[in-house]
Protein backbone atom coordinates (compact mmCIF):
# COMPACT_ATOMS: atom_id res chain seq x y z
CA UNK A 1 0.00 0.00 0.00
CA UNK A 2 1.38 3.33 -0.98
CA UNK A 3 1.49 6.21 1.46
CA UNK A 4 0.09 8.25 -1.38
CA UNK A 5 -3.03 6.13 -1.48
CA UNK A 6 -3.41 6.42 2.27
CA UNK A 7 -3.10 10.18 1.98
CA UNK A 8 -5.69 10.25 -0.80
CA UNK A 9 -8.06 8.25 1.38
CA UNK A 10 -7.56 10.55 4.35
CA UNK A 11 -8.14 13.66 2.26
CA UNK A 12 -11.28 12.13 0.75
CA UNK A 13 -12.57 11.37 4.24
CA UNK A 14 -11.78 14.91 5.40
CA UNK A 15 -13.64 16.33 2.38
CA UNK A 16 -16.65 14.14 3.03
CA UNK A 17 -16.86 15.04 6.69
CA UNK A 18 -16.54 18.75 6.02
CA UNK A 19 -19.26 18.61 3.38
CA UNK A 20 -21.57 16.88 5.86
CA UNK A 21 -20.86 19.33 8.69
CA UNK A 22 -24.32 20.80 9.01
CA UNK A 23 -26.08 17.47 8.58
CA UNK A 24 -23.98 15.91 11.33
CA UNK A 25 -24.80 18.80 13.64
CA UNK A 26 -28.48 18.39 12.86
CA UNK A 27 -28.37 14.72 13.76
CA UNK A 28 -26.49 15.47 17.00
CA UNK A 29 -28.99 18.12 18.03
CA UNK A 30 -31.77 15.56 18.29
CA UNK A 31 -30.49 13.91 21.46
CA UNK A 32 -27.03 15.39 21.99
CA UNK A 33 -25.52 18.84 21.97
CA UNK A 34 -25.55 19.51 18.25
CA UNK A 35 -21.83 19.82 17.67
CA UNK A 36 -20.72 16.58 16.03
CA UNK A 37 -20.38 18.25 12.62
CA UNK A 38 -18.30 21.05 14.09
CA UNK A 39 -16.05 18.69 15.98
CA UNK A 40 -15.55 16.47 12.93
CA UNK A 41 -14.85 19.50 10.75
CA UNK A 42 -12.24 20.67 13.26
CA UNK A 43 -10.82 17.15 13.20
CA UNK A 44 -10.69 17.24 9.41
CA UNK A 45 -8.79 20.50 9.53
CA UNK A 46 -6.36 19.13 12.10
CA UNK A 47 -5.85 16.01 10.00
CA UNK A 48 -5.15 18.06 6.87
CA UNK A 49 -2.59 20.09 8.79
CA UNK A 50 -0.97 16.92 10.04
CA UNK A 51 -0.60 15.80 6.43
CA UNK A 52 0.53 19.18 5.17
CA UNK A 53 4.21 18.48 5.57
CA UNK A 54 4.57 15.45 3.26
CA UNK A 55 7.65 13.77 4.60
CA UNK A 56 8.54 10.30 3.64
CA UNK A 57 6.65 8.56 6.36
CA UNK A 58 5.43 5.01 6.73
CA UNK A 59 1.72 4.36 6.71
CA UNK A 60 2.04 3.55 10.38
CA UNK A 61 3.51 6.97 11.04
CA UNK A 62 0.83 8.68 8.98
CA UNK A 63 -1.90 6.84 10.85
CA UNK A 64 -0.45 7.79 14.24
CA UNK A 65 -0.19 11.39 13.09
CA UNK A 66 -3.81 11.58 12.03
CA UNK A 67 -4.91 9.73 15.17
CA UNK A 68 -3.21 12.37 17.29
CA UNK A 69 -4.64 15.12 15.13
CA UNK A 70 -8.11 13.75 15.79
CA UNK A 71 -7.37 13.57 19.51
CA UNK A 72 -6.76 17.31 19.53
CA UNK A 73 -10.44 18.11 19.06
CA UNK A 74 -11.50 16.47 22.32
CA UNK A 75 -15.21 15.82 22.78
CA UNK A 76 -16.48 12.25 22.54
CA UNK A 77 -15.56 11.72 18.92
CA UNK A 78 -11.94 12.78 19.41
CA UNK A 79 -10.87 9.92 21.67
CA UNK A 80 -13.13 7.42 19.88
CA UNK A 81 -11.64 8.02 16.45
CA UNK A 82 -8.19 8.33 17.97
CA UNK A 83 -8.33 5.01 19.77
CA UNK A 84 -9.67 3.31 16.62
CA UNK A 85 -6.96 4.80 14.43
CA UNK A 86 -4.19 4.05 16.90
CA UNK A 87 -5.34 0.43 17.01
CA UNK A 88 -5.29 0.30 13.20
CA UNK A 89 -1.79 1.76 13.17
CA UNK A 90 -0.54 -0.75 15.71
CA UNK A 91 -2.18 -3.69 13.95
CA UNK A 92 -0.75 -2.57 10.59
CA UNK A 93 2.72 -2.83 12.06
CA UNK A 94 2.07 -6.38 13.18
CA UNK A 95 0.82 -7.53 9.80
CA UNK A 96 3.24 -8.76 7.16
CA UNK A 97 4.28 -6.05 4.69
CA UNK A 98 3.00 -6.08 1.13
CA UNK A 99 -0.28 -5.24 -0.60
CA UNK A 100 -3.52 -4.89 1.35
CA UNK A 101 -5.69 -8.00 1.35
CA UNK A 102 -9.20 -8.77 2.55
CA UNK A 103 -7.78 -10.71 5.47
CA UNK A 104 -5.59 -7.82 6.52
CA UNK A 105 -8.50 -5.42 6.22
CA UNK A 106 -10.56 -7.57 8.56
CA UNK A 107 -7.76 -7.60 11.12
CA UNK A 108 -7.56 -3.81 10.99
CA UNK A 109 -11.32 -3.44 11.31
CA UNK A 110 -11.45 -5.77 14.29
CA UNK A 111 -8.66 -3.88 15.99
CA UNK A 112 -10.53 -0.62 15.57
CA UNK A 113 -13.79 -2.08 16.84
CA UNK A 114 -12.14 -3.60 19.89
CA UNK A 115 -10.35 -0.39 20.78
CA UNK A 116 -13.50 1.72 20.46
CA UNK A 117 -15.52 -0.74 22.54
CA UNK A 118 -12.80 -0.71 25.16
CA UNK A 119 -12.59 3.05 25.51
CA UNK A 120 -16.29 3.83 25.29
CA UNK A 121 -17.81 0.78 26.98
CA UNK A 122 -20.53 0.69 24.35
CA UNK A 123 -21.77 -2.27 22.36
CA UNK A 124 -23.61 -2.53 19.07
CA UNK A 125 -27.21 -1.44 19.58
CA UNK A 126 -26.33 1.42 21.95
CA UNK A 127 -26.71 3.91 19.11
CA UNK A 128 -23.09 4.86 18.73
CA UNK A 129 -20.39 4.78 16.10
CA UNK A 130 -20.22 1.00 16.70
CA UNK A 131 -23.53 0.58 14.96
CA UNK A 132 -21.79 1.50 11.72
CA UNK A 133 -18.40 -0.04 12.47
CA UNK A 134 -19.64 -3.40 13.65
CA UNK A 135 -21.67 -4.26 10.50
CA UNK A 136 -18.72 -3.17 8.36
CA UNK A 137 -16.39 -5.53 10.20
CA UNK A 138 -19.01 -8.27 9.94
CA UNK A 139 -19.11 -7.81 6.17
CA UNK A 140 -15.33 -8.17 5.98
CA UNK A 141 -15.60 -11.22 8.19
CA UNK A 142 -18.00 -12.72 5.63
CA UNK A 143 -15.24 -12.21 3.07
CA UNK A 144 -16.83 -9.19 1.42
CA UNK A 145 -14.81 -6.29 0.04
CA UNK A 146 -14.43 -2.66 1.13
CA UNK A 147 -17.34 -1.56 -1.04
CA UNK A 148 -19.61 -3.99 0.76
CA UNK A 149 -18.17 -3.00 4.14
CA UNK A 150 -18.89 0.67 3.46
CA UNK A 151 -22.40 -0.25 2.33
CA UNK A 152 -22.90 -2.24 5.54
CA UNK A 153 -21.69 0.73 7.60
CA UNK A 154 -24.21 3.00 5.89
CA UNK A 155 -27.02 0.49 6.41
CA UNK A 156 -25.98 0.20 10.06
CA UNK A 157 -25.96 3.95 10.52
CA UNK A 158 -29.41 4.16 9.00
CA UNK A 159 -30.68 1.35 11.19
CA UNK A 160 -29.42 3.23 14.24
CA UNK A 161 -32.29 5.65 13.72
CA UNK A 162 -34.57 3.14 15.35
CA UNK A 163 -32.26 2.61 18.30
CA UNK A 164 -32.46 4.34 21.65
CA UNK A 165 -29.32 6.08 22.87
CA UNK A 166 -28.14 4.67 26.18
CA UNK A 167 -24.48 5.60 26.14
CA UNK A 168 -23.01 9.06 26.07
CA UNK A 169 -26.40 10.59 26.53
CA UNK A 170 -28.81 10.29 29.39
CA UNK A 171 -30.66 7.02 29.31
CA UNK A 172 -33.86 8.56 30.60
CA UNK A 173 -33.85 10.71 27.52
CA UNK A 174 -33.40 7.60 25.46
CA UNK A 175 -36.83 7.35 23.93
CA UNK A 176 -36.62 10.85 22.56
CA UNK A 177 -33.43 9.92 20.71
CA UNK A 178 -35.33 7.51 18.47
CA UNK A 179 -36.00 8.64 14.91
CA UNK A 180 -32.72 10.01 13.62
CA UNK A 181 -29.51 8.09 12.87
CA UNK A 182 -26.63 8.39 15.33
CA UNK A 183 -24.28 11.19 14.29
CA UNK A 184 -21.10 9.25 15.06
CA UNK A 185 -22.32 6.20 13.13
CA UNK A 186 -23.21 8.48 10.25
CA UNK A 187 -19.80 10.14 10.17
CA UNK A 188 -18.10 6.75 10.20
CA UNK A 189 -20.26 5.51 7.31
CA UNK A 190 -19.35 8.65 5.38
CA UNK A 191 -15.66 8.10 6.04
CA UNK A 192 -15.74 4.47 4.93
CA UNK A 193 -17.67 5.39 1.78
CA UNK A 194 -15.21 8.12 0.86
CA UNK A 195 -12.23 5.90 1.60
CA UNK A 196 -13.71 3.20 -0.61
CA UNK A 197 -14.30 5.68 -3.43
CA UNK A 198 -10.76 7.02 -3.18
CA UNK A 199 -9.32 3.52 -3.11
CA UNK A 200 -11.46 2.38 -6.04
CA UNK A 201 -10.32 5.39 -8.07
CA UNK A 202 -6.74 4.46 -7.28
CA UNK A 203 -7.43 0.81 -8.22
CA UNK A 204 -8.67 1.86 -11.63
CA UNK A 205 -5.64 4.06 -12.17
CA UNK A 206 -3.22 1.37 -11.14
CA UNK A 207 -5.23 -1.33 -12.96
CA UNK A 208 -5.33 -3.92 -10.24
CA UNK A 209 -1.95 -3.15 -8.74
CA UNK A 210 -3.25 -3.37 -5.21
CA UNK A 211 -6.57 -3.70 -3.41
CA UNK A 212 -7.99 -0.72 -1.58
CA UNK A 213 -7.22 0.18 1.98
CA UNK A 214 -9.64 -0.09 4.89
Amino acid sequence: MSSQLLRACVVAAADAVEAARDELCRLDAAAGDGDHGLTMALAARAVRQALADPQDESDHEVLVKIALAMASVGGASGPIYTSGLLAVATKLDELPPGPMTAVKMLALGEAAENAISAIGHAKPGDKTILDALHPAVEALRRGQDLAAAAKAARAGAEASAEMVATIGRASRLGERSRGLPDPGATSLALILESVHTAAARDDQQLAGDEVGLA
Binding site: A29, A30, A31, G32, D33, G34, D35, L38, T39, L42, A71, S72, V73, G74, G75, A76, S77, G78, P79, I80, I119, G120, T166, I167, G168, R169, A170, S171, R172, L173, R176
Partner: protein, 318 residues
Protein backbone atom coordinates in the same frame (compact mmCIF):
# COMPACT_ATOMS: atom_id res chain seq x y z
CA UNK B 1 -12.31 30.95 22.77
CA UNK B 2 -8.59 31.55 23.03
CA UNK B 3 -9.15 35.31 22.95
CA UNK B 4 -11.68 34.93 25.71
CA UNK B 5 -9.34 32.92 27.93
CA UNK B 6 -6.61 35.46 27.25
CA UNK B 7 -8.96 38.21 28.38
CA UNK B 8 -9.96 36.13 31.39
CA UNK B 9 -6.37 35.60 32.46
CA UNK B 10 -5.56 39.29 32.00
CA UNK B 11 -8.62 40.43 33.94
CA UNK B 12 -7.89 38.10 36.84
CA UNK B 13 -4.12 38.19 36.72
CA UNK B 14 -4.01 38.57 40.50
CA UNK B 15 -5.37 35.02 40.83
CA UNK B 16 -4.73 33.07 37.63
CA UNK B 17 -2.43 32.73 34.65
CA UNK B 18 -2.51 30.80 31.38
CA UNK B 19 -0.07 27.90 31.40
CA UNK B 20 -1.06 27.12 27.82
CA UNK B 21 -3.77 28.61 25.64
CA UNK B 22 -6.35 26.26 27.18
CA UNK B 23 -4.93 25.67 30.65
CA UNK B 24 -5.71 28.14 33.43
CA UNK B 25 -3.63 27.81 36.61
CA UNK B 26 -3.52 29.39 40.01
CA UNK B 27 -0.74 31.86 40.56
CA UNK B 28 0.09 30.86 44.10
CA UNK B 29 -0.70 28.07 46.49
CA UNK B 30 0.67 26.32 49.50
CA UNK B 31 3.54 24.00 48.67
CA UNK B 32 2.70 20.34 48.93
CA UNK B 33 -1.06 20.48 48.72
CA UNK B 34 -2.99 17.91 46.71
CA UNK B 35 -3.58 19.22 43.20
CA UNK B 36 -7.17 19.72 42.03
CA UNK B 37 -7.95 20.00 38.31
CA UNK B 38 -11.39 20.80 36.93
CA UNK B 39 -12.46 21.16 33.36
CA UNK B 40 -14.75 20.44 30.48
CA UNK B 41 -16.03 22.00 27.30
CA UNK B 42 -16.28 25.75 26.92
CA UNK B 43 -19.56 27.60 26.65
CA UNK B 44 -20.33 26.89 30.32
CA UNK B 45 -18.59 29.96 31.73
CA UNK B 46 -17.93 30.88 34.50
CA UNK B 47 -17.23 27.13 34.63
CA UNK B 48 -14.56 25.96 34.65
CA UNK B 49 -11.78 28.54 34.63
CA UNK B 50 -13.78 30.80 36.94
CA UNK B 51 -13.26 28.32 39.77
CA UNK B 52 -9.49 28.33 39.78
CA UNK B 53 -8.15 30.01 42.89
CA UNK B 54 -7.63 29.72 46.62
CA UNK B 55 -10.03 27.20 48.15
CA UNK B 56 -11.15 25.64 44.88
CA UNK B 57 -9.18 24.38 41.87
CA UNK B 58 -5.49 24.63 41.03
CA UNK B 59 -6.01 24.37 37.29
CA UNK B 60 -8.74 24.18 34.68
CA UNK B 61 -8.56 22.36 31.35
CA UNK B 62 -10.75 24.03 28.74
CA UNK B 63 -12.10 22.45 25.55
CA UNK B 64 -13.83 23.84 22.50
CA UNK B 65 -17.42 24.93 22.90
CA UNK B 66 -19.36 21.94 24.29
CA UNK B 67 -16.44 19.60 23.65
CA UNK B 68 -14.29 18.03 26.31
CA UNK B 69 -10.65 19.16 26.27
CA UNK B 70 -8.31 16.65 24.63
CA UNK B 71 -6.03 14.49 26.78
CA UNK B 72 -2.92 16.59 26.21
CA UNK B 73 -4.65 19.69 27.54
CA UNK B 74 -5.87 17.80 30.60
CA UNK B 75 -2.40 16.37 31.08
CA UNK B 76 -0.89 19.84 30.99
CA UNK B 77 -3.37 20.90 33.65
CA UNK B 78 -2.40 17.89 35.76
CA UNK B 79 1.26 18.86 35.46
CA UNK B 80 0.46 22.42 36.45
CA UNK B 81 -1.51 21.28 39.49
CA UNK B 82 0.80 18.53 40.66
CA UNK B 83 2.89 19.33 43.70
CA UNK B 84 3.90 15.82 44.52
CA UNK B 85 0.94 14.78 46.65
CA UNK B 86 -1.24 13.57 43.80
CA UNK B 87 -3.93 15.18 41.70
CA UNK B 88 -7.71 14.90 41.77
CA UNK B 89 -9.66 15.47 38.54
CA UNK B 90 -13.19 16.80 38.88
CA UNK B 91 -15.50 16.89 35.87
CA UNK B 92 -19.03 16.24 34.74
CA UNK B 93 -20.01 12.75 33.72
CA UNK B 94 -20.09 13.00 29.92
CA UNK B 95 -18.74 10.38 27.53
CA UNK B 96 -16.24 12.81 26.07
CA UNK B 97 -14.96 14.04 29.41
CA UNK B 98 -14.79 10.53 30.79
CA UNK B 99 -12.63 9.41 27.87
CA UNK B 100 -10.40 12.47 27.56
CA UNK B 101 -9.81 12.96 31.28
CA UNK B 102 -9.47 9.21 31.65
CA UNK B 103 -6.77 9.06 28.97
CA UNK B 104 -4.94 11.97 30.56
CA UNK B 105 -5.14 10.27 33.95
CA UNK B 106 -3.61 7.14 32.45
CA UNK B 107 -0.82 9.13 30.87
CA UNK B 108 -0.13 10.92 34.16
CA UNK B 109 -0.16 7.66 36.09
CA UNK B 110 2.34 6.29 33.61
CA UNK B 111 4.56 9.18 34.69
CA UNK B 112 4.14 8.18 38.32
CA UNK B 113 1.57 10.79 39.34
CA UNK B 114 -1.20 9.52 41.60
CA UNK B 115 -4.37 10.67 39.84
CA UNK B 116 -7.94 10.16 41.02
CA UNK B 117 -11.16 11.11 39.26
CA UNK B 118 -14.52 12.41 40.45
CA UNK B 119 -17.26 12.33 37.86
CA UNK B 120 -20.07 14.57 38.95
CA UNK B 121 -23.42 12.99 38.05
CA UNK B 122 -26.04 15.09 39.77
CA UNK B 123 -28.73 15.44 37.10
CA UNK B 124 -31.58 13.23 38.30
CA UNK B 125 -33.42 13.82 35.03
CA UNK B 126 -30.75 12.11 33.00
CA UNK B 127 -31.00 8.53 34.30
CA UNK B 128 -33.06 6.67 36.86
CA UNK B 129 -31.76 6.14 40.37
CA UNK B 130 -30.73 2.55 39.62
CA UNK B 131 -28.41 3.80 36.87
CA UNK B 132 -27.16 6.89 38.65
CA UNK B 133 -23.68 6.26 37.28
CA UNK B 134 -25.02 7.24 33.88
CA UNK B 135 -26.22 10.62 35.02
CA UNK B 136 -24.85 13.83 33.62
CA UNK B 137 -23.10 16.42 35.70
CA UNK B 138 -24.74 19.84 35.75
CA UNK B 139 -24.66 22.59 38.38
CA UNK B 140 -23.84 20.07 41.11
CA UNK B 141 -20.28 20.40 39.82
CA UNK B 142 -19.95 23.58 41.85
CA UNK B 143 -20.86 21.97 45.16
CA UNK B 144 -18.44 19.13 44.55
CA UNK B 145 -15.66 21.45 43.41
CA UNK B 146 -16.18 23.69 46.43
CA UNK B 147 -16.00 20.85 48.95
CA UNK B 148 -13.13 18.99 47.32
CA UNK B 149 -11.25 22.24 46.69
CA UNK B 150 -11.62 23.29 50.32
CA UNK B 151 -10.43 19.86 51.46
CA UNK B 152 -7.33 20.12 49.27
CA UNK B 153 -6.71 23.65 50.49
CA UNK B 154 -6.72 22.37 54.07
CA UNK B 155 -3.84 20.10 53.24
CA UNK B 156 -5.82 16.85 53.34
CA UNK B 157 -4.37 13.79 51.64
CA UNK B 158 -5.42 12.68 48.17
CA UNK B 159 -7.43 9.83 49.71
CA UNK B 160 -9.29 12.28 51.87
CA UNK B 161 -9.86 14.84 49.14
CA UNK B 162 -11.20 12.10 46.90
CA UNK B 163 -13.47 10.84 49.67
CA UNK B 164 -14.84 14.35 50.22
CA UNK B 165 -15.46 14.79 46.51
CA UNK B 166 -17.33 11.50 46.29
CA UNK B 167 -19.31 12.31 49.41
CA UNK B 168 -20.29 15.75 48.12
CA UNK B 169 -21.24 14.16 44.81
CA UNK B 170 -23.46 11.58 46.49
CA UNK B 171 -25.12 14.25 48.58
CA UNK B 172 -25.89 16.45 45.55
CA UNK B 173 -28.82 16.25 43.16
CA UNK B 174 -30.02 18.64 40.49
CA UNK B 175 -32.68 19.11 37.88
CA UNK B 176 -33.17 21.85 35.32
CA UNK B 177 -35.81 23.44 33.19
CA UNK B 178 -35.59 25.41 29.99
CA UNK B 179 -37.83 28.42 30.02
CA UNK B 180 -38.11 31.76 28.37
CA UNK B 181 -37.38 35.25 29.41
CA UNK B 182 -39.49 36.66 32.15
CA UNK B 183 -41.59 39.23 30.33
CA UNK B 184 -42.08 42.63 31.93
CA UNK B 185 -45.40 41.80 33.51
CA UNK B 186 -48.24 44.26 33.48
CA UNK B 187 -49.22 42.90 36.85
CA UNK B 188 -45.76 43.30 38.30
CA UNK B 189 -45.66 39.52 38.71
CA UNK B 190 -43.14 37.79 36.45
CA UNK B 191 -43.88 34.27 35.26
CA UNK B 192 -41.78 31.87 33.28
CA UNK B 193 -42.56 31.65 29.59
CA UNK B 194 -41.20 29.62 26.73
CA UNK B 195 -41.48 31.38 23.40
CA UNK B 196 -43.90 28.73 22.28
CA UNK B 197 -45.73 28.57 25.58
CA UNK B 198 -43.96 25.42 26.65
CA UNK B 199 -41.12 24.48 28.90
CA UNK B 200 -38.66 21.65 28.74
CA UNK B 201 -38.12 19.82 32.01
CA UNK B 202 -34.85 18.06 32.74
CA UNK B 203 -32.80 19.45 29.88
CA UNK B 204 -29.02 19.40 30.10
CA UNK B 205 -26.45 22.16 30.14
CA UNK B 206 -25.68 21.61 26.49
CA UNK B 207 -29.22 22.15 25.31
CA UNK B 208 -29.82 18.42 25.26
CA UNK B 209 -33.53 17.70 25.26
CA UNK B 210 -35.21 17.07 28.59
CA UNK B 211 -37.46 14.27 29.73
CA UNK B 212 -40.70 16.08 29.19
CA UNK B 213 -42.11 19.05 27.41
CA UNK B 214 -44.91 20.53 29.40
CA UNK B 215 -47.11 23.53 29.05
CA UNK B 216 -45.69 26.55 30.74
CA UNK B 217 -46.26 26.75 34.48
CA UNK B 218 -45.79 29.49 37.07
CA UNK B 219 -42.39 29.64 38.74
CA UNK B 220 -43.57 28.12 41.99
CA UNK B 221 -44.97 25.07 40.23
CA UNK B 222 -41.77 24.66 38.26
CA UNK B 223 -39.80 24.84 41.48
CA UNK B 224 -42.10 22.25 43.01
CA UNK B 225 -41.63 19.86 40.09
CA UNK B 226 -37.85 20.14 40.29
CA UNK B 227 -37.72 19.77 44.07
CA UNK B 228 -40.14 16.83 43.98
CA UNK B 229 -37.99 15.00 41.46
CA UNK B 230 -34.86 15.66 43.50
CA UNK B 231 -36.40 14.58 46.78
CA UNK B 232 -38.05 11.52 45.30
CA UNK B 233 -34.64 10.45 44.12
CA UNK B 234 -32.99 11.24 47.44
CA UNK B 235 -35.41 9.10 49.42
CA UNK B 236 -36.44 9.87 52.97
CA UNK B 237 -34.19 12.60 54.35
CA UNK B 238 -36.00 13.44 57.56
CA UNK B 239 -35.26 16.96 58.81
CA UNK B 240 -31.80 17.44 57.36
CA UNK B 241 -29.95 20.64 56.62
CA UNK B 242 -29.40 21.29 52.94
CA UNK B 243 -27.63 23.75 50.69
CA UNK B 244 -29.73 25.10 47.81
CA UNK B 245 -28.17 26.34 44.61
CA UNK B 246 -30.12 27.92 41.76
CA UNK B 247 -28.16 28.16 38.55
CA UNK B 248 -29.10 30.41 35.66
CA UNK B 249 -28.21 29.01 32.27
CA UNK B 250 -27.06 32.26 30.75
CA UNK B 251 -30.03 34.28 29.57
CA UNK B 252 -32.25 33.98 32.59
CA UNK B 253 -32.72 37.25 34.43
CA UNK B 254 -31.56 37.43 38.03
CA UNK B 255 -35.13 38.38 38.87
CA UNK B 256 -36.31 34.98 37.73
CA UNK B 257 -33.47 33.11 39.40
CA UNK B 258 -34.58 34.48 42.74
CA UNK B 259 -38.22 33.71 42.07
CA UNK B 260 -37.26 30.12 41.32
CA UNK B 261 -35.04 30.09 44.41
CA UNK B 262 -37.92 31.26 46.57
CA UNK B 263 -40.21 28.56 45.21
CA UNK B 264 -37.59 25.84 45.63
CA UNK B 265 -36.80 26.93 49.16
CA UNK B 266 -40.47 26.87 50.10
CA UNK B 267 -40.90 23.44 48.55
CA UNK B 268 -37.91 22.12 50.51
CA UNK B 269 -39.07 23.66 53.75
CA UNK B 270 -42.53 22.21 53.23
CA UNK B 271 -40.85 18.81 53.22
CA UNK B 272 -39.18 19.51 56.54
CA UNK B 273 -35.73 20.40 55.24
CA UNK B 274 -33.73 23.38 56.48
CA UNK B 275 -32.06 25.50 53.81
CA UNK B 276 -28.94 26.66 55.63
CA UNK B 277 -26.80 27.77 52.69
CA UNK B 278 -27.88 29.38 49.44
CA UNK B 279 -26.19 30.15 46.16
CA UNK B 280 -28.03 31.96 43.38
CA UNK B 281 -26.48 33.04 40.11
CA UNK B 282 -24.84 31.82 36.94
CA UNK B 283 -22.45 29.05 37.93
CA UNK B 284 -22.44 26.79 34.89
CA UNK B 285 -24.15 28.19 31.86
CA UNK B 286 -25.06 26.96 28.45
CA UNK B 287 -23.97 29.86 26.25
CA UNK B 288 -27.04 32.08 26.31
CA UNK B 289 -29.69 29.49 27.01
CA UNK B 290 -32.78 30.57 28.86
CA UNK B 291 -33.38 28.25 31.75
CA UNK B 292 -32.27 27.37 35.22
CA UNK B 293 -31.66 24.43 37.48
CA UNK B 294 -32.11 23.64 41.13
CA UNK B 295 -29.40 21.79 43.06
CA UNK B 296 -29.80 20.39 46.55
CA UNK B 297 -26.88 19.15 48.64
CA UNK B 298 -27.69 17.26 51.82
CA UNK B 299 -25.24 18.54 54.40
CA UNK B 300 -23.37 17.08 57.29
CA UNK B 301 -21.02 19.06 59.53
CA UNK B 302 -18.00 18.24 57.42
CA UNK B 303 -19.52 19.35 54.11
CA UNK B 304 -20.94 22.49 55.69
CA UNK B 305 -17.55 23.48 57.06
CA UNK B 306 -15.98 22.91 53.65
CA UNK B 307 -18.68 24.94 51.90
CA UNK B 308 -18.03 27.78 54.31
CA UNK B 309 -14.25 27.68 53.94
CA UNK B 310 -12.69 30.69 52.27
CA UNK B 311 -12.68 30.69 48.46
CA UNK B 312 -11.09 33.40 46.32
CA UNK B 313 -11.54 32.56 42.68
CA UNK B 314 -12.48 34.91 39.86
CA UNK B 315 -16.11 33.82 40.00
CA UNK B 316 -16.73 32.21 43.38
CA UNK B 317 -15.92 33.89 46.64
CA UNK B 318 -16.68 32.89 50.17
Amino acid sequence: MDESLEGFAAAHADIVALAEPRVVVRRSRAAGKVGFVVGGGSGHEPAFAGYVGRGMADAAACGNVFASPPPNVVLAAIHAANMGRGVLLGYGNYAGDVMNFGLAAQMARAEGIDVREIRVADDVASAPNAESGKRRGIAGDIMVFKCAGAAAERGMSLDEVERIGLQAGKATRSMGVALSACEVPGSGRPTFELTDGEMEIGMGVHGEPGIERAPLKPADEVAQILVDAILEDAGDLGARDVALLVNGLGATAHLEQYILYRGARRALEARGLQVVRSYVGEFITSLEMTGASVTVTVLDDELLRLLDAEARTPKFRV
